[in-house]
Symmetry: C2
Subunit: 209 residues, 2 copies
């Protein structure tokens, strides 16, 4: 008799030896390791020591290195809808951009996390063997930029921003500053440095205030 395969979540698994580690906590350790050292330049040995589990456990629980990284990336970036609603619930596109810059400056200089942005640094370069991973991360960056671009376009339609405002350039400029904040954070810039840079970048919005 053919039985439908049932995908069981780890919480409802009933038979067999139970997992000896916290899957989510180990994933967070992996994320922090990729965040600090990058995707290709983090070895499985780095991950086993950071996650506290052996290589076969990693492969059984997450697939392979690529799948683990992509899952860690999802944990880092969060749901796209969250960003979308955050930007759409801001009073103006300008406020949304400011919030993005401030939260980036803050997140990139956390004292319990590596400096900079995982999405900006972990796959900034890599061999052609990881071109798909680089493209996946680039897509997340693009989606966030498109969110901001759409928000700006809405403000143009609503008359909050002038009709000749360049939504694409304005959103991309903001994203560019975010990426740059990551580089500066990795180079040792302080949170105040980054916040001052954000303030300076927001002056580009002055004609629209």
């Amino acid at each position: 008799m053919i039985v439908m395969e049932r995908k069981l979540s780890s919480a409802t698994r009933k038979v067999g030896r139970p997992l000896s580690f916290d899957r989510d906590a180990a994933l967070e350790r992996a994320m922090l390791t990729f965040w600090r050292y990058g995707y290709e330049t983090t070895s499985i040995a780095d991950l086993t020591s950071a996650m506290g589990i052996t290589a076969p456990s990693i492969y059984a629980a997450y697939g392979d290195k690529k799948a683990l990284f992509l899952e860690a990336t999802r944990l880092y970036a969060g749901d796209l809808n969250t960003h979308q609603t955050a930007m759409n619930s801001a009073p103006t596109a300008r406020d949304a951009a400011y919030d993005l810059l401030v939260s980036a400056a803050t997140a990139f200089t956390g004292d319990t996390t590596p400096p900079g942005c995982l999405l900006a640094s972990a796959t900034a370069s890599g061999s052609s063997a990881s071109a798909d991973v680089q493209a996946a991360v680039a897509d997340i960056r693009r989606q966030i930029g498109n969110c901001l671009c759409a928000r700006i376009q809405r403000d143009i339609v609503d008359g909050i921003l002038p009709a000749d405002a360049d939504a694409k350039a304005l959103s991309q400029m903001t994203i560019a500053v975010v990426q740059g904040l990551s580089v500066l954070a990795r180079d040792g810039a302080s949170r105040d440095d980054l916040l001052n840079i954000a303030e300076e970048a927001m002056k580009a919005w002055r004609p629209y205030t």
Copy 2:
């Protein structure tokens, strides 16, 4: 009798079998390879095929992988004095920043070179084994930023910029945009996209014009 060791340039070398390849041309090939694939994620095998010479030739001519990369980085970045005089000979700090952004947007989207900036991407992340290389590249970034910062400070002293202008934040913001342009270029943005972003970023200088 003790004889002083004489460092001979490749042009004045007289004895022994001559080099069978163009050292400078091979270095440029190495630079382009590091530019595209990054420092740690470029293998010696990648370099031998790109440079057209065997591994022992690389090690004899350039030292090791680290020394080759640093030499390629020097070839890419050029002399710091060149940047310094360029910024100091610009009419204003604002012009210097604009020139920097435009030349970055252009250089990051060359059709005979990899997209983006070698200094921004090649060591954006890496294992702790290459921490010194990452620091060396970060230093070059810092020096260019300091050049611009000094140029801004000069304009403040000269009264071209107001006394309350934040030279550090303004220069760092500009550098951040340059780094961001590299990321966007790597993500496939066109030269026009990047130039529009540069225009948008320059609006932050509007109160100073």
